[in-house]
Structure formats: C-alpha cells, structure tokens
Symmetry: C2
Subunit: 339 residues, 2 copies
Amino acid sequence: MSVTIKDVARIAGVSPSTVSRVLSNHPKISPATVRKVREAMVELGYHPNIMAKSLVSKSTQTIGLVLPRSVEEFLNPFFSEVMRGIFAFANQAQYDVLMSAANSRQEELEAMNRMILGRRVDGIIMMAPRKKDPVIEQLLQHDFPFVLLGRSLEHEDLLCVNNDNIKAAFDATNHLISLGHKRIGFVSGSPDMVVTEDRLEGYRQALVGASLPYRKDWIIGEEMLQAGGFHALSLMLTQPERPTAFVVIDDVIAFGFIRQLYEAGFKVPDDVSIVSFNNIMLTELSNPPISTVDIGIYHLGYMTAQLLIRKISGEPIVQNQLVLPHRLVVRGSSLHPRT
Amino acid sequence: MSVTIKDVARIAGVSPSTVSRVLSNHPKISPATVRKVREAMVELGYHPNIMAKSLVSKSTQTIGLVLPRSVEEFLNPFFSEVMRGIFAFANQAQYDVLMSAANSRQEELEAMNRMILGRRVDGIIMMAPRKKDPVIEQLLQHDFPFVLLGRSLEHEDLLCVNNDNIKAAFDATNHLISLGHKRIGFVSGSPDMVVTEDRLEGYRQALVGASLPYRKDWIIGEEMLQAGGFHALSLMLTQPERPTAFVVIDDVIAFGFIRQLYEAGFKVPDDVSIVSFNNIMLTELSNPPISTVDIGIYHLGYMTAQLLIRKISGEPIVQNQLVLPHRLVVRGSSLHPRT
DNA sequence: ATGAAAGCGCTAACAC
DNA sequence: GTGTTAGCGCTTTCAT
C-alpha cells in the first residue's frame, strides 16, 4: 500500500488539507506545523500521487510532443538536438514530456487526440509543420495550447519559434556566389514541408539578386537522391553547363549527396562545393567538414518549450512569433570554383 | 467543460457504471445498450479521462524512459534509433512514453522518483547502464518493474535486452586480424559503462587468441580524443611500431577519430583501418563508409519495450535475458595493411 | 444485465 | 492558521 496524504496527516497530527497546504507552500501556515508535516512526510517516505493531483487541479505538468512521422525525420540528429533543448527547459520548469509516435497521418491524429482529450498533457509542441497541416487544424479546432517549431503558411498568428529560413538560404547561397560560383543548384527535401519552401525561396532570391540563372533542372528532389535517381544526377553533372555548387536543404541529406557525388566521380569541394543547413555535430567531423548554416537547434527547442509553458501558465507573452538568429559556418566543403 | 461519463450516461439513458462497462468491453452487457452508449459517445465526442481512470485502476498505460545523462549519449543517433524501436512497440500496445531528462546523477534519481512514486508510469526502461549504477539500485529497492537495455555486472538475473558485446568485439577484431593486421589498437568510450568493458574484453580475447600483442598504450581513452589529446595521438602514430588498425567503441567516436587521423596526416583505410560498432545510418554515407558491427538497434528497442510491457501486464516471461544477434558489416574503412 | 454507492488521493471553497 | 466538506471522473463491489 502506498502512503497517502491521510497517513501523513495522521502521523503529523493535522488534517489532510493542512498537509496539502504544506505541499503547495501555502503562505499562511505556521512554521511549526510545516516542520511537523515535513518530518512526517520524510518518515513515511511520502510522494504525492500526480494522477490524483491533476485530476482535481486539471493540470498535468506535462507537455506533449508530436513526433515526426517519417523514419528520416526521426533519425535526423536535428531531432535529438531540438529535444535536448526542449527537455532542458521543461525539466527546469518541472515539466515532463509525453511522447507518442505514429506511423501514419491517421495514427498521428489519434495519438494527439489521446493526449489532448485524455487530458494527459497541458500543451503540445508540434514540429516540422507541413503545408495545410491537418495536425494544426486539429489543434486549432480543440483550442488547445500549442507552439509550432517552424511556422504555418496558413496561420500567421500562431505561437511559433522559427528561424528566418528564407534569409538563411539567402545567406548560404550568397556565400557560394561570393566564392565565385555562377551555376548553383539546390538539393531539396520533402516538398510539402514549410521549411523546404522557405529555403528554396531564399536560394531563388539570392540567385535573382545576383542575376544568376535559376533553373528548375538544377533543383534536385528527394526522389532523385534515391537509388533510382542516381543516373539522372550523374547525367546532369557530366553536362558542360553543370552546377559547380549546391545548396543542400539539410546536413543529413548533404552527407548522402556528397557520398553520391563521390561515387559518380566528383569530389567535394574540388569539383563541387556544398553548403547545407543545421550544423549538426557530425558536419564538423565529416570528411570534408561541411559548410552549413547554424540555426541554433538546441536554442530553438529551448525557446519553444519556454513559450509553450508560458502560454500554459497564463503568463503574458510578449511576442507570439519568435525568430531566432542563424549563422553561416564555413568549413571545407565550399571553395571557389575550379578554373 | 469537458464531456464525462455522466453526460454519456444521461444521453444514452443508462447509468454511469454501464457506460464504464461498455468502455472496458464488459462481457455481460446487452448489444442494444452497447449501441446506445456508443452512439452517445460519438455524439458528444467523449474521450475517457486517463487521469481519473488510472487513479482508480492504478495503471497508467505509460512507460518511463530514463534518458542518458551526457550530451554525447543523447545526441548519438543510437539513441534515436533505439527510441524508434521502443515507440514502435509501445505505441502498438497502446502505451505512451514519458521522458524526463537530467543533467546530473542527482537530478536523474529525482526524476525517476517522480515517475515511480508519483505513479506516473507502470514501468521503466533504463538505458546504457554503468558499473554499480545507482539508478539500478534505486529501481531494485522500489521493487519497480523495469528492463535494462544492456546488462548489469552486479545483477545477472535482471530483465534485460542486450547484444553479446564481447562476441561482437571479438568478431570485429578478428575481421582486422583476418585482413592481416598485426598491431591493432582500441578506441574506448566512457570507462564506467558496461558496454565499454565488454567490447574491450572481446578485443582482448581476439588478440590473445591470435597471439597478437595487447598493449595498454594502444588503448585510446575518451580524454585522448579531445583537443588536448591530439598530441599524444599523433605521437603514437609516428612511432614505427604504431597500430595499423583500430577497433572503435562506437560509430560516432569513429567519425571523430577518422577526422583526427586525417588531420594528423593519416588516411583511412590506406594508412589506418577502422572498424566500429552500431551501424548508424551515417556510417554508410560517410567517406569512407565505415565498417561496423550492426547490433540491430531498432530491434533492441522494440524487444526492450516488449519485455517491459509483458512484465507489466503480468504475462509469463519465457526468458529474462534476451541476447540479440549482431552482424559485421564490412565497408571501406577497413583494408589489409599497407605493405 | 443494470443501477446505486463507495472510494481512488488529492485540492479548494467555506467555515471557525 | 487549521479543520470540514464536497467533489474531480472513473471503476467496482454489491444489490436487484
């Protein structure tokens, strides 16, 4: 049998409500009583039952995380790093994190409903939003506290924490331009993710700004990175008018891309320059080290948790949309074009 | 206001207890009533309140994950992959996962106590156990259901899921031996982790078995991989009697090590061969691709969750210690020694 | 097959 | 300051 507030009350010679008050640091309670109760709690090894507590207080001290759906996203170190940031803040604020994975859109919505309607969490962090994301619509419909890690194209007024991905891609592309590259390609990710759209746009703006060609056939989609697309890739790169540099949507994709280039006989950075995004740990250790835009992943997670917990606790929120700074980190994968 | 079992009861024209029975698929309840109740639930958009449910039933349908402490562990893709496996099973069994991070041993124990004594979880998965791990002692003391991902040196009878890491390291080392390497070093990880000890032992056994030298000064510790240890490393490698190959404790460490070798003027695999452990996704994409022992990380997580949930539900457990198979994956980082 | 009633462990008026 | 009381939403005897 587990020890309850009643047991403590009996040992301390007070009523259960007094124990409860001690627990929540109620102001007007005599120091002597506090001491007695505290002693009884230690003596019995008392720990509050969170379920009972949240049943009445309607707060769970827990935030929910809607996990990325695809294997690729889940395994991306970006995800771990952002989680580290989320946990860092949540933990410090005495919040736990409830996670529940899903293999399909349907399962995802169901898991979210379990969290929300089962009142298991006080708020939700939603990662990697897509265009017209049904999860967001659902959240909105329930009028449930949530924060976006990223941004929504459809709803501009939501709470969210994000980078200026357009500017980030603009900077990355300009880095290649300043090195002297004239023909610059783009390696894309999932086309229905908002971040993909934003980075593609920044890339486009930089090219247009420098009066350089923006060619659809230099934009490599996900599918082309699979085994089947290999042929198309090497075809493109053997043309005289091939790109001499690429902006790559993400560090992990960059890894794979560099590998493919290598197998097709192109070396980085000698034949092709690469700059990507995120600055995950391994970019520094790879060979060559990858030039990338550091978007402060950890900080992103930290601020997202902070914003959500502020919202939950009803604290005033100064700014609904947080845009965190980014910083280009130049490493060995980008060089001036070979003359 | 949220819709409760009472509301459903009123609409369906039955008593709350009947609704509860429908919810838990009680056998003796008339099909007609079931239908009425189900309809009312849909009409009102009813979802059970898990807090209330678990307050009385004493089960939370949630498993707890004790997160790795250090940044390095947390960011290791091993961790994400094992989580994928855990979620895959947990989710399918209708369990959620509660996580709570910690920055120190002390915080870690506190977080665990909150989970256990606050009755927030039904069981716990404990990862990456150390020698004489206080977390294990704590768990044991509370007599709380838990499964180890790894093994305990002190308690051989605990529920755990693991690889045969001694054999895995034995195989990895023998691979290098069969390539013709005579001088083989070892790059170690945290010395107080059980897995480090096991892999070091397998490495030793292979060397001894082949009558090759096992030299303490060829065993590179964590500290030597930091910036400060760089000098010692290059010193070792410029000796005539330098190792021509290394067994590396972990893929991520291997990445860093290869990078350091490169900066010291040694190429992999031309000058130094490398074989490591885990087979995380990026080993295949790295340059060169890394030879590594696949330990079935996802499966490891999956089986751990399965074992724990079996334990929780009181199902009979055939085997307390599960040892999952491993498989050497030979890639470009290991080659015969240069003559 | 169904309802009434008690209670899980806790909090929060409301008294005094 | 502290005790009394009434629930939070659910399950589970015990009746009928």
